[in-house]
Symmetry: C2
Subunit: 491 residues, 2 copies
Amino acid sequence: MLIPIDRNNPEPIYRQIMAGTKKLIDNGSLKVNEPLPSTRRLADRLGVNRSTVVRAYEELQAQGYLSCRPGSYNRVVKRRREVPYLEDRGSLIDWEDISTDRAGILHRTFCRYAPEGPIPESGDIINISQLDLDPRLYPLEEFRRCLAHVLASKGPLTLDYGSHKGSKILREIIAKRLRLHGISVSGGEILITNGAQQGIDLVTRLFTSNGRVIVESPTYSNVFPLLHFNSSGLIEIPMTDEGMDLDALEKTLATTKVNLIYTIPNFHNPTGITTSHSHREKLLSICQAYRVPLLEDGFEEDMKYFGRVPLPIKSIDTHNLVIYLGTFSKALFPGLRIGWITAHKDCISRLTALKRFSDLGSGNLVQEVLAEFVTRGFYDLHLKRLHRVFRIRMQLALRTMEGHFPDSVRWTRPAGGYTIWIKMPRSIDEGRLKELMSRHGVIVSFGGYYFGSGDLSRFIRVSIAKTNEEEILEGVKRLGGILREIDQSSN
Amino acid sequence: MLIPIDRNNPEPIYRQIMAGTKKLIDNGSLKVNEPLPSTRRLADRLGVNRSTVVRAYEELQAQGYLSCRPGSYNRVVKRRREVPYLEDRGSLIDWEDISTDRAGILHRTFCRYAPEGPIPESGDIINISQLDLDPRLYPLEEFRRCLAHVLASKGPLTLDYGSHKGSKILREIIAKRLRLHGISVSGGEILITNGAQQGIDLVTRLFTSNGRVIVESPTYSNVFPLLHFNSSGLIEIPMTDEGMDLDALEKTLATTKVNLIYTIPNFHNPTGITTSHSHREKLLSICQAYRVPLLEDGFEEDMKYFGRVPLPIKSIDTHNLVIYLGTFSKALFPGLRIGWITAHKDCISRLTALKRFSDLGSGNLVQEVLAEFVTRGFYDLHLKRLHRVFRIRMQLALRTMEGHFPDSVRWTRPAGGYTIWIKMPRSIDEGRLKELMSRHGVIVSFGGYYFGSGDLSRFIRVSIAKTNEEEILEGVKRLGGILREIDQSSN
């Protein structure tokens, strides 16, 4: 076996042995089933350590080139032949045709959303559109410690199927936190989901396929295609400065059968509006009067960095018609995909059934690690830090808007959370906004996404979640430039 | 501040300081907003290290008892009051009434399945019913190393939202592995899902709400409630010893509109049957003739431990009507919940849209770690070990059956995988089987679960996935006792 070894080559010796052996196999010099020299013999011949040859053989085994039984020689293995990839083959099935009409809306929205934003012309683009937490604020070291501890102390258990409902210890922890938010709940009434998004999916699949859903207008953009798919219809109720227009809501409920109302009472996405306690009471009493379940999205419950905001609607829900959604995606790690639902036990039991048969339950390991992370106090310490940071970021964003936006523009002053909603003097379409963003080097979110229909919008959503002070300052200034340009073109 | 410190107490000093401080706060000796002594002063007074007091204060901060701004004293915080948990409150909503009829089946099946099996009378129960891998065979140490490496090298990126389709590197790796199984595919035609179960959910949600689905009879038990929920109807085609009865299939297709056929060609669950290459060709040509998509569940593709079995149907799918499902749950870690779908790009694009809006994509971190695990060759080494172990376990199970089952009983001889299907001389109902299992100290799976209807069954499913040789030997012997008892009662 002739294998060239070059000691000046930065490539480790064992990898040079691997490469040489592969070459001999691939060019047929070594035949299938042919035994290789023993590790001792090859090491002698090449003048290297025996352990170096052992390592090379082991890796070649792992890669499927060699195989050996204990005590015998390594032999060349007949490898599975990899078929080539052939592009652009047609299909006998018309996949559009076979999917439901509802699925069409889902797919068209998907194609419209991705890729998001304009293609950057240069590297100098500031993105103030994203609603996921700035990764520079991740408590990565603390998470790593919890992960190592959980794997060492619980081991295999964390990698097997867990409960369909989710990790018991995590559910108990979430229940305790919710009780601190005034929600009377036990771990048994909590279902762990793949983020709050799966919560919306499960609830609307189960309860709205034969009834309509009311949403705020504007609202979280991702609910539109999902509700078009899951529900028998969608009704938009306008947002006022105080939250959903409750008079309009009552009028609609008086004439239409509705199965669910979806609301975001804190730091509403996209407007940033937080409703008052009395608005919450009134909304709940309307739901009671019409016996309609209320889906309360508490996705930023933990982002109350300017101090107190009213307790969740679920906390005053004595008749148990509120389904409450929470998540670790907005204040911690979005990529873990861990959220939760709490509701009356009869409701949770049905949602758990759907969860069980749709994906057998959420990933176990990350739930156990999150539980450890919260138990050790890391989550509270992290929140404290976030609050300090975002108090400053939000104040900076609002102050910069005051200094750089034209008089014709209005915007909200959120009591927490990440998003600010900007109203322009006139509508623009998405294409025009993209062109302006590309020219001014800033990415914001087109307001039209947050309404059920319409290609034009008078609104822009800014998010400060993923940008630091410097980026906020510069991004908002650039946005000011866009708004001044729109303002002038409208005169 | 009077805090008792007991140096003979095994409780660490900092925790004694914490407990003492909490007590003073809770009993009102320390008032809200009252400043605490500086860490230096308290350390002097208690005669402890200053770092001990710092740690106690930090933990008290994390737990919400204290707060401080840089450079100032720690002060007692007004804590959020935890509301009590009130059990057994009713709801104004009738959650059964508001959910769809289809949801009712889902929920009733869920309630029937959980808890599974009999309540053990003693600790001496052998469970040969479970289809998840024996955790004693987990390559935990290798996984831990990959996890540490990924967190250290990729850091925050792995905890943010990833692509809706799933990690690009993992998709490329899966595509390469599939090409080794004869499937011509690129990473772009792969969608990562929360296990194969979510694959079945996504496919049937998208393509079968306005059409029927054909399944093998018996088949994987979890598809029944899901298909009743997602599809407009379910048709069962009997299994023969060679796989789905293709004559019966053709007859059905000739008279009924069908949107999807679901099949498990390798180590079929529950029967353990593997179909021949010619059966696969014939099934595919029938699908082509009727232009019906075929959902191929390759959940145990990697468990071919007795050597070659035919390549997947997807490998001969020149007209692209096969949707192929794979998973890491059966040969590696079920709790990671990582599976995948591959199909024609028009199909994958639509499935990705539904995945995006139903949960925004699968968890990022575990995908990156899996990619590392496969890249390093750990997965192939692990499979090699599994093959060695399960070759022996399956042979032992079959040999023990021959020695201990009565002559009236028949069973399958699987070419790989985990399950063996046992046919009894007469039907029994679930209650009777449970009673027998409880008495004989063995848990098996009631055959009735694998048929769409019927409380009686002549079948039992045994799985060797989670049991070692000793347990298989004893479990199968005990099952022999049950079968002899059934056999005698039928004479």
